[in-house]
Symmetry: C2
Subunit: 410 residues, 2 copies
């Protein structure tokens, strides 16, 4: 590379997003980039000329290893939506003025659907105006809802944490004894796609029966049927554990969480902020069945649990970061790196690049055929898909009993 590289992170953080950042940095340096800049808080920070020289932060190979194990966006995240080019040309002129000043050859953006929209717009603008900067996206989202890629970095680690935690919750539930039984509802992220909620089935194995019911947001939720199933289960066992997506909806389109409490926040992309599905269902079940109920939200923990990351995920995230730099260096622009799966067992995968115009804002959901007929559990095909992505560990680097992270002074 002759010029410099700039990299940013956007959207909801994951346990693997910094491994992609480490991959970008390592490959950019390997390919001769003079400077590798990091935008602070993504494109929003770049517009305010907030960026750092990553060499001042990543000084040793140990720092690379720490960065791979540091959860959340090291550079800071944002949820800034670029205006359409015809709506506000000034924003684009400002961005390219900064990129030219910094002699940026490759602009790498690590994020989800919304971030790929940013790559698409900047790349389009560059082509139209004859700018030389290349724009490449790195997929990242625990939600695993990006199109065209087999899966997204960040998903495997979240799935591993969910499988592990749900198994521990099941164990906890089984040891309790209440005269009318105990029902535990575990609420898992994933607004429209059930990839994360389905990962609760990973708890199932020779040593664990797994959750009793799993409800994905792709399938309309029926309160009466749910109540009937819980009552049947309570006849057979003292502890019932149910995994539900935060985004399950009734047939009429109302979110289950809306039944109990108000939805109080809509983000810049118009996404409703959901919560309270499990707590609503716990009250509902207590009323219907007269049993003890508990609601558990895996909340932010499921996207930040680097201490329980998947080795496959962290390594793929690193590779994807490197592949993005390589693609830009070889002249690609308006592209996103994707992961292609060659086989499930033994698991084999590789990276490729695809046109970001085909990806942006297209949410990939769990296929109907990977959910059972009743809509109450994922199938073996789902497990075969997700199982390879949670393999192996990345041992935290422990200092005085707590995992060490790479620190950026704020």
């Amino acid at each position: 590379m002759k010029g410099n590289v700039i990299v940013g992170q956007s959207g909801g953080p994951t346990a693997a997003i910094n491994s992609s950042l480490a991959g970008v940095y390592r490959t950019a340096k390997d390919r001769g980039a003079k400077k590798v800049y990091g935008m602070l808080h993504g494109i929003q920070g770049l517009l305010q000329e907030r960026y750092i020289d990553l060499s001042e932060h990543i000084k040793t190979d140990l720092d690379i290893e720490l960065l791979k194990r540091t959860p959340a966006a090291y550079l800071g995240s944002c949820r800034y939506k670029l205006p359409e080019i015809h709506q506000n040309k000034d924003v684009y002129e400002k961005i390219f003025e900064i990129l030219e000043k910094l002699d940026i050859e490759a602009f790498i953006y690590i994020g989800g659907n919304d971030s790929m929209d940013t790559i698409k717009k900047l790349s389009d603008y560059a082509i139209v105006t004859g700018k030389r900067t290349k724009f490449v996206g790195c997929p990242k989202t625990i939600d695993n809802d990006l199109a065209l890629t087999d899966h997204t970095p960040g998903y495997g680690s979240a799935a591993k944490y969910i499988g592990t935690s749900v198994k521990e919750i099941i164990r906890d539930g089984f040891c309790l004894e209440y005269s009318n039984g105990v029902v535990t509802i575990v609420e898992i992220m994933g607004r429209n796609a059930g990839w994360l909620t389905g990962a609760a089935a990973l708890a199932k194995g020779e040593d664990c029966p797994g959750p009793d019911l799993i409800y994905l947001p792709e399938i309309p939720f029926d309160l009466d049927d749910f109540s009937k199933r819980i009552k049947e289960l309570l006849k057979k066992k003292g502890s019932v554990v149910v995994a539900v997506s935060e985004g399950i909806k009734l047939k009429d389109g109302r979110y289950v969480c809306e039944l109990g409490s108000s939805v109080d926040f809509v983000d810049a992309f118009g996404h409703k902020q959901l919560s309270g599905t499990a707590s609503y269902l716990a009250s509902f079940v207590a009323g219907e069945c007269g049993c003890k109920t508990r609601s558990i939200e895996l909340s932010t923990l499921q996207r930040a649990a680097s201490h329980c990351a998947s080795r496959v995920d962290i390594l793929e995230a690193f590779q994807v970061g490197g592949a993005a730099v390589k693609a830009a260096d070889e002249g690609d622009s308006g592209m996103m790196v994707v992961i292609e799966r060659f086989s499930d067992d033994p698991y084999q995968s590789g990276t490729a690049v695809k046109d970001v115009h085909k990806i942006a804002n297209d949410e990939r959901v769990v296929p109907r055929s990977w959910v059972n007929k009743e809509g109450t559990y994922v199938t073996d095909d789902f497990i075969t898909y997700v199982r390879p992505l949670i393999q192996g560990d990345v041992a935290p680097i422990m200092v005085d009993g707590i995992p060490r992270h790479l620190f950026r002074p704020y």
Copy 2:
């Protein structure tokens, strides 16, 4: 030993309670016990003659290792409170009839304050009626609120999980950007004692500023002062993280969680079931400061997270189990094993036995001098106390990407 041993587990489960069970089993076998029985669901199950022969479940040394890594009570737990002897002699006669039938020489009960009350009553009854069975308690509680022992098995692992998770939450919060800032309230268990909540301070280190405020249940909580502090913090930083005990109360004695929602459940010991402190405070802060807020309950996860257990804790839990059998075999009864600390650094500890009459139902709270003057953080003395208890890891035995546990068919 000439006779048999029976062991039970009671109260809220922990990540270390099965390590004590493993210790009981190992030492009982080593000392020549013919049979080691496990009561299913504690004394309540024993009254229904529900018990198992542990040799049929623990067959190999690998099973011992798996048991040490299995969260929640392997034998099942209960919250059954024995009546006073003069109130209901029948219950005692029934229990001793079963113990005699099984030729029980040592009765080991792993639990917290309420379980030690059981040991006390059974031991008193045995002495009065001339029965030969010895009754010894094994301390267990994530709450760390048992008197006479330096700390309780289960606490160290919960503290390690809390420190690790709060650090990951802080990292997540710092990378977000909201125009008016974001305040995250993390709710931690501990009804009356702040040992667990104080462990949030373990997140603090060279690479992490730690939570901004920590509120223990020992100190009356002041909403106005809290609001003032949050506003001050938001002037200086974009993300504020607060750790609160589920049991914080106002000066007038009302629980903070009662301000927002109703307390709906009281257990057999008359303990109010608390929840909703963080969600109430998150709404309160949103109203006061106009910022984005999040509430996170560490919930059951903090007591079940075997995948993040402390080596010191798991090994001490094992030792305590063994020490209980040894004490009974040597003729002690009505005693509880305690852990004594000889030094902080290097950490050195050992076991001893103390009279359970001095322990039962006496809750040990965090000393006032281990909380700062303002009541908003723990002091260095607190950290010096807890730090040794979270040292070292017990690597989970991973099978297909998920920790393996020892399974008991239900």
